[in-house]
C-alpha cells in the first residue's frame, strides 16, 4: 500500500531521546498522516518503543519536537497527551492484573465524561474482541497472553483515540492469534482511527502498513511504502529472516 494524501496527524522532527548517558533515538524524523497505518520496524534496541514512549509523554526528549494535529506535544505530561487523542497500548501489554476486564476497559475511558459515547465505544470494542465479553468479570492477570493482548488493545480503544499507538501487539502470541490481531488492526483503521504500529513481526507489519520506517540503533535507516519495503530483498534479509 502507498502513502495516503491526507494531512499529517503526527510529526516527529529530529527527535533525540536517551536514558542517562545512553542515546536510544538519534535525530529521528517521521510523519503519520490521517487515516494511515504506519509501521515502525527494526531489531531489538533500535529505539522503536522509546520513540512511542516519547510520543506518549512517558519520556522527555533531549532535543527535537513532536507535533500532533499542529500542536506541539513534546514535554507535556503523559496524562495530558491522552486527553489530546493519543492512546497507547504498551509493550508487554501492561494491563492492570488485579482488576477485572471490565475495570480495565473503564480505565481506558478514564478521561471521557460522556457515558453514552463510552458505552458505544465499549460495545464496539467487545464486538471486535468477543472473548473479552466472555471474560468480562475475570481478573485480567489470570487471562491467557492472547486475551491480555486483546484487552490491552481494547483498553486503548476505549479512550476513543484519533491516533492509536500499538507496541508489539503480536508479541508472544500463537500464530492464529497473530493473524487475528492483524485483521483487527485493519478493522480498527477502517473505523477511522489512525495507527502507529511497532512490530517484531516485520513482514506482517509492512504488509498492512501504508508507510513504514526502518530503525537501526536509534537512526532512521530506511523509509517507504509498506508493500515496497515488504518486497525489498535487502529488507527481507535484514529483518524478515529471509
Amino acid at each position: 500500500m502507498a502513502r495516503l494524501n491526507t494531512p499529517a496527524m503526527l510529526k516527529i522532527n529530529d527527535l533525540t531521546v536517551g536514558y542517562g548517558a545512553i542515546t536510544a533515538v538519534k535525530g529521528l524524523t517521521l510523519e503519520v498522516r490521517e487515516g494511515e497505518i504506519v509501521s515502525l520496524i527494526g531489531s531489538n534496541g533500535a529505539g522503536k518503543s522509546t520513540t512511542l514512549r516519547t510520543v506518549s509523554g512517558l519520556l522527555k526528549p533531549k532535543s527535537g519536537n513532536i507535533e500532533f494535529l499542529g500542536e506541539k506535544i513534546d514535554g507535556i505530561a503523559g496524562h495530558e497527551i491522552v486527553a489530546k487523542g493519543i492512546c497507547h497500548s504498551p509493550e508487554g501489554r501492561r494491563i492492570f492484573p488485579k482488576m477485572t476486564v471490565d475495570e480495565n476497559l473503564d480505565l481506558g475511558a478514564y478521561l471521557r465524561k460522556d457515558a453514552a459515547a463510552v458505552k458505544e465505544t465499549r460495545d464496539h470494542v467487545l464486538q471486535l474482541f468477543p472473548r473479552l465479553q466472555e471474560r468480562i468479570n475475570q481478573k485480567a492477570g489470570t487471562m491467557s497472553g492472547g486475551e491480555q493482548q486483546m484487552l490491552a488493545v481494547g483498553r486503548a480503544l476505549m479512550g476513543n483515540p484519533k491516533l492509536l499507538i500499538l507496541d508489539e501487539p503480536s508479541m508472544g502470541l500463537a500464530p492464529v492469534l497473530v493473524d487475528l490481531i492483524f485483521e483487527t488492526i485493519e478493522e480498527i483503521r477502517k473505523s477511522g482511527v489512525t495507527i502507529l504500529l511497532v512490530e517484531q513481526n516485520a513482514l506482517a507489519a509492512l504488509r498492512i502498513a501504508d508507510y513504514a520506517y526502518v530503525l537501526e540503533s536509534g537512526h532512521l535507516k530506511l523509509e517507504g511504502d509498506g508493500s515496497k519495503l515488504a518486497d525489498d530483498p535487502a529488507i527481507a534479509q535484514a529483518y524478515l529472516g529471509g
Partner: protein
C-alpha cells in the same frame, strides 16, 4: 518469551515438611481456640466485656493502619512517619479543642466543637502528609528503595520533634469532651466513649472503602498502585493521585489522633512510635497494601491485646506486646503475604 504455565503443572507436592507445617498450624490454632473457648465458657460476661474493649482499640489501630497500607499500596514505601503524624493529630486536637476552645466536659456545644475539630484535625494531618510527600518522598520516587525509607525515618523524628516542642516532654492530660459514663447490657459494661469511637470510626472506614473501591479517584488510585506508566497512558495524573492518597491517609491519622486523645485522656510526643508500631504490625498482619487487611489486622491486634490483658485465664498484661508480635511472626511463617495478602502468582 512469555510463559503461560498452567495451574496444574504447579500443583504442590505433598512433602514431609508441608505436612509438618500444616500439622503445626492446626495445633497452634487449636491451642488458641481452646484458650478462647475455655475463657468463654468459664466467664462469658468477662469475655464479652473484653471483646468490647478490644474492638474499641482495634478500630483506632485500623484507622492508623489504613494510612500505612494506602501509602505502601501506592508507592511501596513504609511511611515510618505515619505513627508520628497520628501523634500530631492527637496533639493538634488537644491544642485546639481543649486549650484554644476550652471544650472540656460533655455538653451539646462541646459535641459540636468536637465534630468541627475532628474535621480540622483530619485536614491538618492531610495537609502535613501531603507536604511531606511533596517535599521529601516525591523527589526520591525513582531513587533506590533505601533512600525514601531512611527519609521516612528522618521525617518521623522531625514530626516527633514538632510534637515535643508543642506540648513538652511529659505526657499531658486531656480533659475530654466525651462523657465518662457507661451503661450495662446483660452484665457487660459499655462506656459511652466506646460507642462514640464506633460511631466515628466505622463510618470513616466505610467511606474510605467506598472512595477506594467505587469512585473514579479510587479506581485511579488502584491503577496507579499497580502500574504507574500504564496509568499515565490511561490519562491518570499519577502525581495528583499519589497526593490524594497521602491526603486520605493523613485524614485517617488525624481522626484517629483526636479519638485517641479524647478517649484515653492523654497525649505525649512519643505516642506515635508505640501506636505506629502496633498499627504497622496490623497492616502487615492483614496483608500490607490491602485496605480490608489493615482493618482486619487492626481489629485482631486490638482483640488479642485485650484478650491477653483482660481474660481471667491468660498470660496477663505484661505479655501484651509479646503476644502480638508472636502472632505476627507465626502468621508470617504460615502466610507470608498476610491474612488477606496475595499469595497466588500472576501470569506474566
Amino acid at each position: 518469551m512469555t510463559s503461560v504455565a498452567s495451574g496444574v503443572a504447579r500443583k504442590k507436592k505433598v512433602t514431609p515438611s508441608a505436612i509438618l507445617m500444616r500439622a503445626s498450624m492446626i495445633m497452634i490454632i487449636g491451642v488458641a481456640v481452646y484458650w478462647l473457648g475455655l475463657n468463654l465458657t468459664s466467664d462469658p460476661r468477662q469475655f464479652a466485656q473484653v471483646t468490647v474493649n478490644g474492638l474499641n482499640n482495634g478500630l483506632l489501630y485500623a484507622l492508623i493502619a489504613l494510612g500505612y497500607t494506602l501509602v505502601y499500596g501506592i508507592i511501596e514505601l513504609i511511611n515510618f512517619a505515619h505513627g508520628d503524624l497520628f501523634m500530631l493529630g492527637a496533639v493538634f486536637s488537644f491544642a485546639v479543642l481543649t486549650e484554644a476552645l476550652g471544650a472540656t466536659g460533655p455538653s451539646a456545644t462541646n459535641y459540636a466543637l468536637l465534630l468541627v475539630v475532628l474535621l480540622l484535625s483530619m485536614l491538618f494531618c492531610a495537609f502535613i502528609n501531603v507536604s511531606i510527600e511533596r517535599l521529601a518522598y516525591r523527589r526520591l520516587r525513582n531513587a533506590p528503595r533505601l533512600a525514601p525509607l531512611i527519609t521516612a525515618v528522618g521525617m518521623s523524628f522531625v514530626l516527633q520533634w514538632i510534637g515535643l516542642k508543642w506540648i513538652g516532654s511529659n505526657p499531658v492530660n486531656v480533659n475530654t469532651v466525651l462523657p465518662s459514663s457507661d451503661f450495662e447490657v446483660a452484665g457487660v459494661v459499655i462506656a459511652v466513649k466506646t460507642l462514640i469511637i464506633f460511631a466515628v470510626t466505622i463510618p470513616l472506614l466505610i467511606v474510605l472503602a467506598f472512595i477506594v473501591n467505587k469512585t473514579r479517584r479510587g479506581r485511579a488510585m488502584r491503577a496507579t498502585a499497580q502500574d504507574k506508566d500504564a496509568s499515565r497512558l490511561m490519562g491518570i495524573d499519577v502525581n495528583q493521585t499519589i497526593t490524594f492518597t497521602f491526603a486520605i491517609a493523613g485524614a485517617a491519622a488525624g481522626a484517629a489522633g483526636l479519638m485517641w486523645a479524647q478517649t484515653t485522656g492523654t497525649v505525649a510526643y512519643n505516642l506515635g512510635f508505640q501506636l505506629g508500631l502496633v498499627a504497622f504490625t496490623a497492616a502487615v498482619l492483614g496483608g500490607v497494601g490491602n485496605l480490608y487487611g489493615a482493618v482486619l489486622g487492626g481489629i485482631i491486634i486490638g482483640l488479642i491485646q485485650s484478650y491477653n490483658d483482660g481474660l481471667a485465664i491468660g498470660p496477663g498484661q505484661r505479655w501484651s506486646q509479646t503476644m502480638v508480635f508472636t502472632l505476627l511472626i507465626l502468621l508470617m511463617v504460615y502466610r507470608p503475604g498476610g491474612l488477606l495478602g496475595e499469595t497466588a502468582q500472576e501470569k506474566v
